[in-house]
Amino acid sequence: SQTIHQWPATLVQPVGSPLSLECTVEGTSNPNLYWYRQAAGRGLQLLFYSVGIGQISSEVPQNLSASRPQDRQFILSSKKLLLSDSGFYLCAWSRTSGGYSNQPQHFGDGTRLSIL
């Protein structure tokens, strides 16, 4: 069966510090990978998605970047965090067969990021 792991579960960082959140998927090959942010009491906002190694699409302009150095590894980064970067960050994967738009996305348990 497929599993998705995110770490760390919680993170407290000062403004201006760098960020690296990691996500890995097991049990599948060539998944589509996604990073979302969820603000308190709100829905999910898609930040980045990737259909393959080194292929990153950004959905919103922001202080964050994403990279996919390996097939099942997706990293969310920032060089200098802002207060507005606080939130709950979720990684997800989906199968590529039939086009990613018609496949369910499966989520990790997220990283709660607090910027002080």
Binding site: N102, P104, D109, R112
Partner: protein, 110 residues
């Protein structure tokens, strides 16, 4: 703009009763919909999906209904249990991306 929304932000039901969570969508071209359950501090968990060529799909204790005429999606949970307490999101395939609603919080009273 086109979006996925919810009729009710909160829903409180008695344990053992059936729950119905509603969702409206505005993109008539959407062809795929998903329901997720999110417990506190966790990521959304896939419950059930439905494609636009179907009106109804059933899972274990859950049923999703799709009414394309009025662009309405609902999730029915039979014999609601305390473990069903969570926030439920619908998601819509909108031009290749999944667009999520804000969610409905379901509370189950013992």
């Amino acid at each position: 703009g086109e979006s996925v929304g919810l009729h009710l932000p909160t829903l409180s039901v008695q344990e053992g009763d059936n729950s119905i969570i509603n969702c409206a969508y505005s993109n008539s071209a959407s062809d795929y919909f998903i329901w997720y359950k999110q417990e506190s501090g966790k990521g959304p968990q896939f419950i059930i999906d439905i494609r636009s060529n179907m009106d109804k799909r059933q899972g274990q204790r859950v049923t999703v209904l799709l009414n394309k005429t009025v662009k309405h999606l609902s999730l029915q949970i039979a014999a609601t249990q305390p473990g069903d307490s969570a926030v439920y999101f619908c998601a819509e395939n909108n031009w290749g991306n999944l667009i999520f609603g804000k969610g409905t919080k379901l509370s189950v009273k013992p």
